[in-house]
Symmetry: D3
Subunit: 66 residues, 6 copies
Amino acid sequence: MISARNQLKGKVKFVTLGTVMAEVVMDVGGTEVVAAITRHSSEAMDLKEGDQVTAIIKATEVIIQK
Amino acid sequence: MISARNQLKGKVKFVTLGTVMAEVVMDVGGTEVVAAITRHSSEAMDLKEGDQVTAIIKATEVIIQK
Amino acid sequence: MISARNQLKGKVKFVTLGTVMAEVVMDVGGTEVVAAITRHSSEAMDLKEGDQVTAIIKATEVIIQK
Amino acid sequence: MISARNQLKGKVKFVTLGTVMAEVVMDVGGTEVVAAITRHSSEAMDLKEGDQVTAIIKATEVIIQK
Amino acid sequence: MISARNQLKGKVKFVTLGTVMAEVVMDVGGTEVVAAITRHSSEAMDLKEGDQVTAIIKATEVIIQK
Amino acid sequence: MISARNQLKGKVKFVTLGTVMAEVVMDVGGTEVVAAITRHSSEAMDLKEGDQVTAIIKATEVIIQK
């Protein structure tokens, strides 16, 4: 179990690799969710289109707009 | 326009106020999304059950699990 | 209205584009403020020298040195 | 030397202590900057009104609005 | 597998509960590591002294001092 | 003194430079700790293999797994 409160299930749409960072675009229930992670992690996890993944976000990182 | 890539529309379910922080639980398309913001912001925005809000998250804050 | 407590008005000095990330250097009242955002956001917002912008930072991200 | 790119000099206006967290409101060149840190850090640093401080923010934590 | 690059194994030394937040102090190989998480997560995980835990930190959250 | 609660002493193992970002892999008591900072900071600090450094992490950025 992990303390991060937000865990959104989705599917990888595409991955863009830079030298240090990677951008992973996911589909979460019809909404796009984007993660900027290290290229190293993306390759270690072999992230690719169609993968079932979970986007994890700590509650302290969420901003609210009203 | 704002650079933060993740903008999830939802509705406030409930707000818990501490002395410094506030926890805001939202419903985002049937999934719970939780934000820990300052109590000051929660009060300044008058956040309460039923409010239509957007949860905003920078891409660099998103972790991926596979 | 947005819950993030820190909103600093400034002007873009220059933008450096990488494959995944972009570095945006701003002038905020004579002080340099730097943001690392995704290249995608920088291009979607067409950020360029001279743009009037606001740097937004959540209170939980601020460290204090004394 | 520290890698965090944003280092804003200011003065503490007031500190609010909760059980776990503390809110520190600073004046940075006429603009309010707010930090949510642990109460433990606030007490260990003896933060109080009038203290000369620096607000430190990593570039990856800065969002841009245009 | 999770994309966050830093995963430090440790043991809980003590937990302080506030209304919204909780402070969890861990021992990681003789060094103190502290997490500020929501009280809700701390209670849901039943965190208490002696628990074997892992502190997880995204690489983008790490600042370097030299 | 700095409010960030986690300060881990280590040694740089290697640095990878991208256009905007840099990845710095450190050895902290036998465990790898990785930071993604801006290339600009890495170069300004002249980070290189063997450097004695401190990895600094705010408590609000730490997630706990049990």
